[in-house]
C-alpha cells in the first residue's frame, strides 16, 4: 500500500501492483460472468468490470485500519482493499469457508479485519455506516480514513446529503467516492439525477472534483489529495469518477429484461476502447515501466489465482445446518 500519499503518481513498482490488482478484479468478474451464464452460480452477480481504476486507485492509499463501505457492486472494492480472493469466491459460492461463512453472499462480502465494512444490498446503505466509522476515527485521532463507494444512482438517496452536511460540520475524515457509471440499473443517469452530482458537495462546503474514472492516474491523484486531507483532520472530500459498467447491471438481466434494450452496442464499444486496464497496460509498456513478459507473467499469475479461488470455493463444504441459527447476536 502506498506510503506517501502526497505523490501525484504511483511509483513504477506500485504501478505494477496496481495493474495486477485491477487485472485480478477483471478476471474474477469475467469468471463469475461466465460461471453465471453456465449456471454454476447461486444467484445473480453485479460485476465491477470497467470500474477497476476507481476502486484500486482509491484503495491503494488506504491501510487495513482505514474503512471502506461498498455497494451491491462490491467485489472490486473488496479485492481492492485487500480482501482475500479465495474467501470472496467461496462466499459467492455459499461455502462455509466464505468470508462471511456463506451467510451474506455476493452482495454482502465483508472483511472487517481488513477494514471492509461490506458490500451492501441497500443502495446508499453504506454511506451512513462509513460516516459513523469516520466519526469514530476522528475521536480516536489516529489519522484513520473512511471511504464510501457508491454509484450515481445512490447519490439521490437523501442519506448522501445528510452525510455531506454532518461530515462537513464535524470535519470527519470521510471520503465520498461516487462512481458515476452513467446508469442506475437500466435508467440513464440524466433521467434520474438533476445537475452535476459533484455540486452537491460544494453546497456543503465539501471540496469536490470530477475525474475520469477510467484513468488510474487521475483517480489516484484525486484520492491521494482527499486521503491526505482526511488524515490531516481537514475534513471530508468528494470525488465523482466517471466510468462505465462493461457488463450489464446484473448477470441475470438478460433473463428478466426479455430483450428490452437500455443502451446501445456502440456506447458499450466506445467504453471498451477506454478500458482502464488496457490503458494501464499500454502506459506500462509505452513508458517502459513493464515488459511484455512481465505483463504476461502477471496475467498468468492472476488467472491461476482465479482458478485456485474457484477451485477452493468448489471444494469447500456448505455451511453446517446449525449455522442457520447462529450469528444473530454477539
Amino acid at each position: 500500500m502506498k506510503e506517501n500519499p502526497g505523490d501525484n503518481r504511483p511509483s513504477p513498482a506500485e504501478r505494477l501492483a496496481i495493474y495486477e490488482r485491477m487485472l485480478l478484479i477483471r478476471r474474477v468478474e469475467e469468471r463469475l460472468g461466465a460461471d453465471f451464464k453456465a449456471g454454476k452460480l447461486i444467484a445473480g452477480v453485479h460485476l465491477y468490470s470497467g470500474q477497476e481504476a476507481v476502486g484500486v486507485g482509491v484503495c491503494q492509499h488506504l491501510r487495513d485500519a482505514d474503512w471502506i463501505a461498498s455497494n451491491h457492486r462490491g467485489h472490486g472494492h473488496f479485492l481492492a482493499k485487500g480482501g482475500d480472493v479465495r474467501a470472496m469466491m467461496a462466499e459467492i459460492h455459499a461455502k462455509v469457508t466464505g468470508v462471511c461463512k456463506g451467510m451474506g453472499g455476493t452482495m454482502h462480502v465483508a472483511d472487517l479485519s481488513k477494514g471492509i465494512l461490506g458490500a451492501n444490498g441497500i443502495v446508499g446503505g453504506g454511506i451512513s455506516l462509513i460516516c459513523g466509522a469516520a466519526y469514530s476515527q476522528s475521536l480516536q485521532g489516529d489519522g484513520g480514513v473512511s471511504v464510501a463507494f457508491f454509484g450515481d444512482g445512490a447519490s439521490t438517496q437523501g442519506v448522501m446529503s445528510e452525510a455531506l452536511n454532518l461530515s462537513a460540520l464535524w470535519k470527519l475524515p470521510m471520503i465520498f467516492i461516487c462512481e458515476n457509471n452513467l446508469f442506475s440499473e437500466f435508467s440513464r443517469s440524466d433521467t434520474v439525477v438533476a445537475g452535476r452530482i459533484v455540486d452537491r458537495a460544494g453546497a456543503y462546503g465539501v471540496p469536490g472534483v470530477q475525474v475520469d474514472g477510467n484513468d488510474l492516474d487521475a483517480v489516484w491523484a484525486a484520492a491521494s489529495q482527499a486521503v491526505q486531507r482526511a488524515r490531516n483532520g481537514e475534513g471530508p472530500s468528494f470525488i465523482e469518477a466517471f466510468t462505465y459498467r462493461m457488463s450489464g447491471h446484473v448477470e441475470a438481466e438478460t433473463g428478466f429484461l426479455q430483450g428490452a434494450k437500455y443502451r446501445s452496442e456502440e456506447e458499450v464499444q466506445s467504453w471498451v476502447e477506454r478500458d482502464p486496464i488496457q490503458r494501464q497496460r499500454a502506459q506500462l509498456l509505452s513508458t517502459q515501466q513493464a515488459t511484455l513478459d512481465q505483463l504476461t507473467d502477471i496475467e498468468a499469475r492472476v488467472l491461476a489465482q482465479v482458478e485456485d479461488a474457484v477451485q477452493f470455493a468448489i471444494d469447500s463444504p456448505p455451511p453446517p445446518p446449525e449455522q442457520a441459527l447462529q450469528f444473530m447476536f454477539a
Partner: protein, 326 residues
C-alpha cells in the same frame, strides 16, 4: 377462464385499471423497463406521464405517493423489494398509516404500494424480508397477499380502487406460478378468506405463497395419513377474515399457521392470539406456527431451505399435532 402466471395477472390488473380510470398513475424505480414483469409494457401503452421511473429516493417516493393521492390521483408506487420500503418507512408508518385518522377523516389516500417479499432464492437478507407483520401493526394500512393468479389480479384491483393506503405484496420470484384467471373485470374483496380445501381434522391458515406448500402438505396428509386438512388463505391480512378462521377452528379444534415472516410478532402469532382468545373453547390441541425463525435470511441455499417453511415441516407439524391428545 385461462391459465396465467401470477405476474401476468398483476400486469393485466394494472392495464385494466389504468384503462378504466385515467387518474391511476404508477411510479417507482425502473418501472418503465420492469424488473419483475409486473409493469411490463405499461410505459409504451400509457406513456411517460402515467408511468414514470423515479430516482432512487424511497424516502421521497413513499411520501409523494400520498401527496399525489391527496391531490386527486390514484397512485401505484412500486417499491421493488420489500426491504426497500424500510428506506421509505417514515412516510409509510408516520403518514400513510395515520394521516386519515389524524385529520379526522379528511384525507382520502388511494395509494397502492407494491413490493416483492420473501426468501427462497439466495438473494440474502437485503432482498428477502417479509414485511407484513410490521405493516399489520401500523394499523392504518390495508395488506393484500395474493396466493394465486386469480387473486393477484383481483387484489391488485381492490388495492387500486381502495381509498385507503394499501400494500400489495407479491411473493418474490414466485410470479411464474400458474393458475386460472377469470375473464373480465372482477375484484377480490377485502377481508374475505378463501377456503382452499376443506377438511375436518386440522385448520391450516397459510399466507401468500405458503398456500401452495400447505396444499401440497394437505395432499400428503390426506393420501398418506388420512388426515383431512382445511386450508385457509386469508388473502388480505388487514382486514383479516377472523370469522372464517374461527369457524374452521370451531369445526376442527386444531390450528397450524404457515407464514414466511420471522416468528416474533408474526402474522402467525397474531392469528394464533385471536384464536386462543375467541375460539379457545373449541381448541383441542396447541396452536402451532410454521414460520421463519428470528434470523435474517441466509444466503446459502441449504440454510435458506432450513429456515423457510417447507412441505415437510408442515406435514410433520400437523402429524404431531393430530397425534396429541387434548
Amino acid at each position: 377462464m385461462a391459465k396465467k402466471r401470477i405476474i401476468q395477472a398483476i400486469n393485466e390488473a394494472l392495464v385494466e385499471e389504468m384503462t378504466r380510470d385515467e387518474r391511476v398513475i404508477l411510479f417507482g424505480e425502473d418501472v418503465e423497463i420492469s424488473l419483475f414483469g409486473d409493469t411490463r409494457g405499461l410505459s409504451q401503452r400509457f406513456g411517460p406521464s402515467r408511468i414514470r421511473n423515479t430516482p432512487i429516493s424511497e424516502t421521497l417516493i413513499t411520501g409523494m405517493a400520498l401527496g399525489a393521492a391527496a391531490a386527486g390521483h390514484r397512485v401505484v408506487a412500486h417499491m421493488m423489494f420489500a426491504n426497500f420500503t424500510y428506506t421509505g418507512f417514515d412516510s409509510i408508518a408516520n403518514q400513510a398509516a395515520k394521516l386519515r385518522y389524524m385529520t379526522g377523516g379528511q384525507a382520502r389516500l388511494p395509494v397502492t404500494y407494491v413490493a416483492a417479499y420473501g426468501g427462497g432464492r439466495s438473494i440474502a437478507a437485503h432482498h428477502s424480508d417479509t414485511p407484513y407483520p410490521l405493516l399489520m401493526n401500523l394499523g392504518g394500512i390495508r395488506v393484500a397477499v395474493p396466493a394465486t393468479p386469480e387473486d393477484a389480479k383481483g387484489l391488485m384491483k381492490s388495492c387500486i380502487r381502495s381509498d385507503s393506503p394499501s400494500f400489495f405484496l407479491e411473493a418474490g420470484g414466485r410470479g411464474g406460478e400458474m393458475g386460472e384467471v377469470p375473464d373480465g373485470d372482477y375484484v377480490t374483496p377485502w377481508g374475505k378468506a378463501a377456503v382452499r380445501c376443506t377438511g375436518g381434522d386440522v385448520t391450516v391458515v397459510a399466507i401468500g405463497s405458503m398456500v401452495k406448500l400447505a396444499m401440497a402438505a394437505a395432499e400428503v396428509l390426506r393420501n398418506e395419513h388420512s388426515i383431512h386438512v382445511e386450508v385457509i388463505d386469508p388473502r388480505t391480512l388487514v382486514p383479516l377474515d377472523e370469522d372464517c378462521i374461527l369457524s374452521s377452528v370451531e369445526k376442527t379444534g386444531r390450528l397450524v399457521l404457515v407464514d414466511e415472516s420471522r416468528d416474533s410478532c408474526s402474522a402467525a402469532s397474531h392469528i394464533a392470539a385471536i384464536v386462543a382468545d375467541k375460539a379457545f373453547g373449541s381448541l383441542r390441541a396447541p396452536i402451532r406456527r410454521v414460520t421463519v425463525p428470528d434470523v435474517a435470511m441466509p444466503y446459502a441455499p441449504n440454510l435458506e431451505r432450513l429456515v423457510m417453511p417447507s412441505v415437510e415441516r408442515i406435514v410433520a407439524t400437523i402429524q404431531q399435532l393430530k397425534d396429541s391428545r387434548p
